[in-house]
Subunit: 348 residues, 4 copies
Amino acid sequence: MLTVGVVGGTGYTGAELLRLLIMHPQVELKYVTSRSESGSKVADLFPNLRGFTDLCFTEPAAETLSECDVVFFATPNGTAMKMVPELIKQGVRVVDLAADFRLQDARVWKQWYGMDHACVDVLSDAVYGLPEINRAAIKSATVVANPGCYPTAVTLGFLPLIENNLVDDQHLIADAKSGVSGAGRGASVATLQAESAENFKAYAVDGHRHLPEIKQTLGRVATHDIGLTFVPHLVPMIRGIEASLYATLAVDLAADFTTDLHQLYNQRYADEPFVDVLDPGTIPETRSVKGANTCRISIFRPQQGNTIVVSSVIDNLVKGAAGQAIQNMNIMFDLEETLGLNQVALLP
Amino acid sequence: MLTVGVVGGTGYTGAELLRLLIMHPQVELKYVTSRSESGSKVADLFPNLRGFTDLCFTEPAAETLSECDVVFFATPNGTAMKMVPELIKQGVRVVDLAADFRLQDARVWKQWYGMDHACVDVLSDAVYGLPEINRAAIKSATVVANPGCYPTAVTLGFLPLIENNLVDDQHLIADAKSGVSGAGRGASVATLQAESAENFKAYAVDGHRHLPEIKQTLGRVATHDIGLTFVPHLVPMIRGIEASLYATLAVDLAADFTTDLHQLYNQRYADEPFVDVLDPGTIPETRSVKGANTCRISIFRPQQGNTIVVSSVIDNLVKGAAGQAIQNMNIMFDLEETLGLNQVALLP
Amino acid sequence: MLTVGVVGGTGYTGAELLRLLIMHPQVELKYVTSRSESGSKVADLFPNLRGFTDLCFTEPAAETLSECDVVFFATPNGTAMKMVPELIKQGVRVVDLAADFRLQDARVWKQWYGMDHACVDVLSDAVYGLPEINRAAIKSATVVANPGCYPTAVTLGFLPLIENNLVDDQHLIADAKSGVSGAGRGASVATLQAESAENFKAYAVDGHRHLPEIKQTLGRVATHDIGLTFVPHLVPMIRGIEASLYATLAVDLAADFTTDLHQLYNQRYADEPFVDVLDPGTIPETRSVKGANTCRISIFRPQQGNTIVVSSVIDNLVKGAAGQAIQNMNIMFDLEETLGLNQVALLP
Amino acid sequence: MLTVGVVGGTGYTGAELLRLLIMHPQVELKYVTSRSESGSKVADLFPNLRGFTDLCFTEPAAETLSECDVVFFATPNGTAMKMVPELIKQGVRVVDLAADFRLQDARVWKQWYGMDHACVDVLSDAVYGLPEINRAAIKSATVVANPGCYPTAVTLGFLPLIENNLVDDQHLIADAKSGVSGAGRGASVATLQAESAENFKAYAVDGHRHLPEIKQTLGRVATHDIGLTFVPHLVPMIRGIEASLYATLAVDLAADFTTDLHQLYNQRYADEPFVDVLDPGTIPETRSVKGANTCRISIFRPQQGNTIVVSSVIDNLVKGAAGQAIQNMNIMFDLEETLGLNQVALLP
């Protein structure tokens, strides 16, 4: 049994982490911290947990958290980087669901997140926790930077194309759409149901924080900088991300392109337990992964032209956050990678 | 391991049954039948099941279904009663999620469902599968009539009041609200999203089929006919039922009533794994049971008057259908009653 | 042309008021005030108003507002009562959409709203602005207390029964449901889409501020105190209220009751431009009044028993707030009562 | 006053047409036809129309329809082309909201709609009713082909870029999203609320019927064939389309591009009453046009790269169908172009 702590358990990624950890057969959930809710029952805040846990929120403290084998941070950006150095000194391993350890270049981090990075040395050892790319490094990582929700959907969708140099990687387009839980559980006017329901809009068109993260990952795969236009949109539903990805076949390929893209994707993800390449002509829908740790992907070449279209869906709170965090934990501690993550998505 | 068949697996109760059976550790799902989808993969219809089952829909046939220990009917009303006699002759036990075996009086059945009952003898032996009332009888039942969704929420909400003769049982009021999955998966204009979303209305005010079912159950508990006004409403959400129940304290009690209603409910349901009485002042919400087999209940006496208000919530597809069916199966086959039913509700 | 000011134009009743005032042919909208948004364009906050108005929010000030013929308050409770005395001194007439002038008894007001009333003398002259009851008084009123949303739906639904002494008025039940815009436009966790969508629950079961308001109005009609249990619920949609009302036929009537209830309602509301009694057997739905100032009502007597069921629907922001406020203005200034209020509801 | 007939008034574009025609000050609505609903009251099908019209549906017949000045077809594709020749012979002018007259090349029409065109001669005289391009021709048209919903949003979004040869018009991308009312009012499983709510997906990725329509219009503007990848998506809301458009700056421009795109769009649409170019940095949302005939547009150049992003929103039932049809009628009959179309969008 792993002894587990969760720092910042009052948001949606925290809530989802608790749901999954509670059902995980090898986890003993020991601490759930929250400054604002300290002392109150976790199940009073999240009534779905009634009957499953008697834990109360506690103040976050290195002394107690250091009793854990692994600590998850489901905190706002900028919190984990202040506590992690102390924890890893105590031998604790960490999965950070925020952005603190996602961008390897501290200057880029500062540019997009507006703060100096608090532990650049830890940052340089942190492993980007996308198992489909970094499984081996995750195994031995002390600190895992759990990927952002959009980056997970977009990266897994583009990956086989980039790995095989099939497309013009200077003009990639990712038109992504997310349910409102992605905006978090903080009080806000913009995601009141009366504002965001029955509405659809793009946001952050000029630049979203997940842009440098996606570019970093795909750039490493390509071994050079890639060019990406990334436009996120807000969908009037609670959970789910769909990313429609557009890429132009590389010039020299376009003329007589015969690669079976579907087969290429199928082979790439054949051994991945949480990536499901759909049959040709089948389009993924977000509800097929609601509550599940799966990324479903389809590839199209409309009118046999030279534009490739990929549609990639995940549950932003599961494969895009809490589920992937647990997948990383399983890998780090040599557990079956799918342990505790085999729930069937809730449909309808 | 139990060998299990599902007849009529293309509707929402069927889909939910499949989701839960697939995750049940003591179930081998052997047949899922559908005349319309025969031959096609179950996971093609319900993409959340991809990776969990390779089963194809088959034609419903007594020869094959009789290989099963238990067969669930998730068919339209009037189908099960035609196939069940043959199956039970072969030693199969049956849980019917439709209404065929819910009303003990075949004339009342005909009045509300518009057909003659096809097997009155089987009907008289069928057990109404509300474990909180009929657990012992369910254990040895050959045919279990799985309760309707509204009757489950309403009956569990009124039960302690009726059992203890605390209220005027001739003027009970149940104002119930259901998500649209309760209307089924058949093509229909009325539950198109463009019709039912952003809309709220009562329906069947003059009389709903679940009225005689509730009256039968509560009448048995009271040992006399009870009077009930039952008004269902359609809520623009997918899953969930909330029933607000109103009852007047019995005349002789009202003057100096001192019973602690909360304690009464708590005691009544203390040993029930799937009924959760909330703390005084706390109001249940349907999302707290989304995907879970739990019924959550609160009791109020506004302004200390003589009207008692009970709010009772369930997931109509789980405790109101598929989950309760599996709870019944567990009881029938001496399995742990909660086996396969311990998922935490999906929130948000 | 009437010169009109709106105090507190940043909430949903304010937004709806602006929408309707802008389209009103006899209104010149002169001031829209907001302390927090002062200086910014109204159409920047509410993009649906782009192209219809160039007004900017201004600080609320008696000097400027007193230039208006009529001032609407769409402010939080407790604001209007502080500004109104000064305004009426200047000859301005007022329609308050908040609760400040709804309860005639200042002690009851304090009990439910937690503040001393700031202008009891004005209060005693204020007219409760439900035209279907108080049209004559509204005509000459200086201050009109625009009714609450629930009270509008519930009162119009019960009215003919109470006026004709047909039911036991000591045990009335109103089970009411409102869309989330009723909770206002303030940042809050409870009505985030990720919280309130796909969810249904009762709230304020122990006592809601609209209870004393309904009791006051119906009590005046009955000429004695009435007894009411009022339970509001939150519906996962933006606009709309449905109230299901339950009443028991008065004892001496129940035996051989022959009144045609439908005809009774039809006659009562025959001359009311904004109350629509549906044909027998037809059930009203909230979407039929989305954006319209109409209250639609149906009456049922299920199984010919002695419980009467009334279903009443309104748009909480129109007949339940801004539309009714403009109806009141039309009456106060001898305009055609329906002027500016003849939009067809938006369906789907 | 214009005498107006509507053929096929039972779908959503028909319903919206009725809503707008009823409020139009220069329209006398004379016939609304429907084979299936003939004889029943229009207001029984669409309860929002109660009190506004006493019309009953009638059988569609050339004799009666020919009494009208203008007839709108809100029928399935392939219906109008059979009735229009007879009507125009009688001097009736026609606005077809279906696709029958949208594609000038009858072979392309057959390829995408699967039927031979029934009146190729009429087709060649029909005018594509996008006023922002074809106002002069619409004025004298006998038959106006009302544009599709997606084509309206996409064409208006791309138009200034194509007219000015600013982008590579061989690799345009339109990622479009529509509310479910776009799928029509026919009974169907796919758009049941329990299926389409809380879900997001692309559809028709391999080719949607609106693709050739958009290519035809933009190709005429460019005076050569353009290349477009068009991917529609289904959004869990009732009304609204958002199109995110991507184009690469033409090669020779990209190096030192200084055009003020915002100003370009502003000038292009300065005299258009129903196209609203937002301020730089402001992103349009579909709710800002709910029920209104407006198209709102923003232009972005993320990170000052060579990819231009345009976001364009409309109400699919108004500017994307019924509103634009009335705008066309106003132009055809020399009425004020905005007559009857000045409603403020319903927000929230």
